[in-house]
Symmetry: C2
Amino acid sequence: MRVTFCCTDTKAQPWLEGLKAALPGAEIEGWKPGAPAADYAVVWAPPQQFLDEQKQLKGIFNIGAGVDALTKLRLPAGVPLVRLDDAGMSVQMAEYVCHAVIRHFREFDAYEADVAAGKWSYRKPSTRSDFPVGVMGLGVLGTRVAQALRQFDFPVQGWSRSAKTVAGVQCFSGDAGFQDFLSATRILVCLLPLTPDTENIMRRDTLQKLRPGGYVVNVARGGHLVDEDLIALIDSGHLAGATLDVFRTEPLPPAHPFWNHSKITLTPHTSARTLRDESIAQIAGKIRALSSGTPFASLAGLVDLKKGY
Amino acid sequence: MRVTFCCTDTKAQPWLEGLKAALPGAEIEGWKPGAPAADYAVVWAPPQQFLDEQKQLKGIFNIGAGVDALTKLRLPAGVPLVRLDDAGMSVQMAEYVCHAVIRHFREFDAYEADVAAGKWSYRKPSTRSDFPVGVMGLGVLGTRVAQALRQFDFPVQGWSRSAKTVAGVQCFSGDAGFQDFLSATRILVCLLPLTPDTENIMRRDTLQKLRPGGYVVNVARGGHLVDEDLIALIDSGHLAGATLDVFRTEPLPPAHPFWNHSKITLTPHTSARTLRDESIAQIAGKIRALSSGTPFASLAGLVDLKKGY
């Protein structure tokens, strides 16, 4: 068995070593143009040339939860695509989102500014029931985030394409439920996959539906958010601010207005990092399962290309 | 029935109105020197004169979880003392501590500084198993904090005076367990009551036992921590830093070195604020229970004066 590794923004060596250790019988190689045909590919944001050349793939494993960097390419017909299924990401997402929500709710930025100015300040505590959090996307990541927020007694609602049930979370679904979900939400958390249906989902007319003092936490993809609409709604006072980890262009271009906006907190796509050891263990485990006859259909993380995630 | 209210740092009027609404049959009055004898007192940090004058109290209700401002006074013999039992505090503590722990573990301060300097930075993710969190004090607040931290998959251990059991938390107790608790801990969270036994519990010789890169979160009382020892151990590199909400003198004096220390985050005693409505409801409920014959011994929050909490 031959496994090829093609990842545009990561040092290949540790991944190759890890995959070799986890799949001792296999030939594991970093992809170069003209490389021999492999059985399985482990990829992140490969070039179109990679897919065009590798004609004998039985399956493609994506190092990440979101497959939008793959689905925007011409994919080889009939080759199953498998994304990471948690692999240490959901706990990082829960951390990142809870930190952002608590920091906003508890005004820790304002306290920090007061302290920097030498002020021992008093701020009236906000009321938890005035800060309902709405999580868009209730897959592995969104579900864990929603449950983590419930630990802090926030009212939490969720929205997903198809109807779901999450304990303690009021669930809305589909187009029919979207307006009610938005108007019940003050802090909006985006954990959706990026597909043609969800692109630009956070734009003026949707963000305007949030409760006054709305706040946006985007940990999905930059393409979900219309940047100018967010800034306009913050500057007009309808939204209180945002915490953003993902952007249309990454790294965020130096001239982008997000960099210096006082009400926007940004981080460099660090909310849930691919953890190499966990990811290698998961992918190698799936390859071993396939080798012993397990069908793709029973693998967690198999992408439904019609849905796009 | 007469209830007297004596609270040195809060506007009395809303408390008096709330107590009147919750106890319609009772006379509720703010205390002044020479006021008539009351049956019950609702207090925060009253002067000694208050206790010396009020000779007929059947019980004293403390507006707060910690009773150290009372136990340092000469208390009337035989009068039960009842502290707040949660009343909305444990969720605030869980928020505050999880925010501080996540912020340190995920290096969000450093990311923020990078962003302020216009840098899109990469930082190698830390490993969760290298950041065991130790919670000192496993009462209502400490238990909730420990459980909230477990949600984020941190290894969590607890230490308390007497042996306790908390699901998912390795529990140590008493003097015998203290050294093992410290040496297994990297992030130390203090939620102890302040008593002669726990005063100065965080000092050079105890903080030195923490794992390298140790970090201190103090949300209990300033008297638990020897300020100079903390600063010396941070400056020598043994400790990575601290998040402090409580101080020996509050407001923290302007000349105190904590104000400008780059590795110390401080907040103005805001980790868990007394929530007026919840507190009034709880205290009034206990007074009603007492009036209908419930004994003090069955009230949650009854203070054991021998233990001091």
